[in-house]
């Protein structure tokens, strides 16, 4: 047992994977149809959407920051993409407009946080609120428009690509994850991200420009949030400004359950993927067991605390002196 705990602490990502597998076995035993093809596909799609939304949060947390604007940017992308599509713009134009705006929002977050040294929690909360308000004003609170058909089939639970019975989102996410893992491990940006997060004081001496790192990383975070927003538009079929709200805390939870430390510099994107799957399993299992949504939420809170206290503890102050 102790050996297992030590192993978990060394490789927290194993914890998330283990939990996901155990929960799945438990669900299969307790709930009829839990492992049915449809159910698995549904869970995969839900986990994939959460994983996309948590991508930027992973990068930002590795950097040593936190991004509370993700749900607002998700809502923003969701509504703007629907609105523009409704006005007849081709998908690629819509995507380009949404992407550029999202990158700008993120860049502002990073710039304000790093140049003025304001806690990113406050900055992203403020900009997120402004963005959401602007979208509401623009749409007068009643977003209209529609999802591009291509996106809808891309994320549809019933979708398939050729003989493989999963929608395009799943392989696309896998490709993106491989690319991101490669970027983190083998490019200057990735290495600088870990260095900046691991010791921000030492970073400038190693010729790392903190402001540039923060601007780029927060811009990426907003970019991935925007992708999640557009995907959610395809998933639900119609625009909804608050569609991102559940993701405020869920992205943080997925990252942390995946073994990435909020202090920065330690963790991995694969962990986040496992964290997203684990969270989705927990949710599905608890709902499958007949719990009310409110109790699911309460249990989720308890499980997050339990998991993090198993393998996400910080070192004692004594050891840091």
């Amino acid at each position: 047992m102790n050996a297992a705990l030590t192993l978990l602490k060394k490789h927290p990502l194993l914890g998330a994977i283990l939990i996901a597998v155990l929960l799945h076995l438990l669900g299969t035993l307790l709930i009829p149809g839990y492992s049915s093809p449809f159910s698995i596909r549904a869970m995969l799609v839900l986990a994939a959407l959460l994983a996309v939304a948590s991508t930027g949060q992973t990068l930002v947390i590795l950097l040593g920051g936190i991004d509370l604007s993700i749900p607002f940017v998700i809502g923003f992308a969701n509504v703007v993409a629907a609105q523009l599509t409704g006005q007849g713009l081709p998908f690629w134009e819509v995507a380009a407009i949404v992407a550029v705006l999202a990158l700008l929002i993120g860049a502002v977050n990073g710039a304000l946080s790093s140049i003025l040294r304001i806690h990113p929690l406050i900055v992203t909360l403020g900009t997120g609120t402004v963005v959401q308000g602007l979208v509401l004003i623009w749409t007068k609170g009643f977003p209209s428009g529609s999802a591009p058909g291509f996106v809808s089939s891309f994320v549809s639970i019933g979708g398939s690509i050729g003989p493989i019975p999963v929608p395009g989102l799943i392989p696309a996410l896998i490709v993106m994850a491989v690319a991101l893992v490669l970027v983190l491990a083998r490019t200057p940006y990735g290495r600088k991200l870990y260095a900046q997060g691991g010791n921000p004081t030492a970073a400038p001496f190693a010729l790392i420009n903190p402001v540039a790192m923060w601007i780029v990383t927060f811009a990426l975070s907003a970019f991935f949030a925007a992708i999640a927003g557009v995907l959610l538009l395809g998933f639900t079929g119609s625009a909804y400004g608050d569609v991102g709200q559940p993701y405020l805390f869920q992205t943080i939870a997925a990252v942390v359950i995946g073994g990435t430390s909020l202090i920065g510099g330690r963790g991995s994107y694969v962990g986040t993927l496992a964290g997203a799957v684990a969270l989705t399993e927990i949710n599905t299992l608890l709902i499958g067991l007949g719990l009310q949504p409110s109790m699911v939420q309460a249990a989720l809170g308890a499980i997050i605390i339990l998991l993090v206290s198993l393998y996400g503890r910080e070192p004692h102050l004594r050891t840091t002196i």
Partner: protein
Amino acid sequence: MTAGRLIRTLSRSGFALVLLVILLLLNVWLNPARFAPGAWGTLIGLAAPLIGAALASTPAILSGRGGIDVSIGPLMGFVNAIIIAALIGGLGLSDPWIVIPVAILMGAAIGLFNGVLASYVRIQPIVATLGTYLILTGLTVTIVPAPIGTIPDWLRTFSQGFSFVPPLAIFLIWLGIRQLPYYDQLMATGSDDRAAFTAGVNVPVVRLLSYVLTGIFGGIASLSLSALIGSADPNVGGNYTLLAISATALGGVSLAGGRGGLIGAAIGAIDIFLLQSALTFFNVSTFVLQVAYGAVLVIAVSSTALQERFFARTGK
């Protein structure tokens, strides 16, 4: 508090204070009736839950190393649900000498829970209190699925003539704490926990107690909340978390810990309240209100940061 100290406190929340004066004048000019002395009780009652939430958030933030309690809103909602629906509605115990201690004790217990997680289990505070956030929100909705119950008359006065009582009580407790060695230990821990630890401060206990204080203040703030909404409502508490954090940031309480105090947090909260109040008068949509509130938050915090930079450079 000496005059010099007061001036320093006020200048740290400089922008927030200027904003407060401007917004207050604007509000009085726009809506004299609402701001007439006779209506102050009701007015303060409207602002009291937010002020209370902001004050409550402060001790945990002051303790540093990522200290924060995001469960403060749900805590207020949970205490509200228990005292109105269970204690007053279910058991018929509506005596203030029972209700008030129960509210405070519940707050303290939740704060203790958060404190143990943050301080001894050593989970990052934002994650620990996020867990608590989810637990409390879930429990509240389970206990009280929809708004229910009424409040006794004495509690109703907390939204009218005696609306100043809960925030004042928090301030008085804080004033007492400032006389204790604990206050210095808290600020030392918040600004540099390693140095404090080396100097012999029991950092884990100091941190733990800061969360307990946050919980106690949250319990008191929930009295203001209950008085204002007049029932047990599962849906209002959660909103206060982000508002309270914004208010503390506006008021110059540094999320890095060890800097700021309750006066700043209160000023920040009043700013947000007055802003809402003024914009509501213009009958603008809540959308505009939201943009304005977000923009003011960013601008205020940015200008405070710029101002501090300027002072740091000129060495004043």
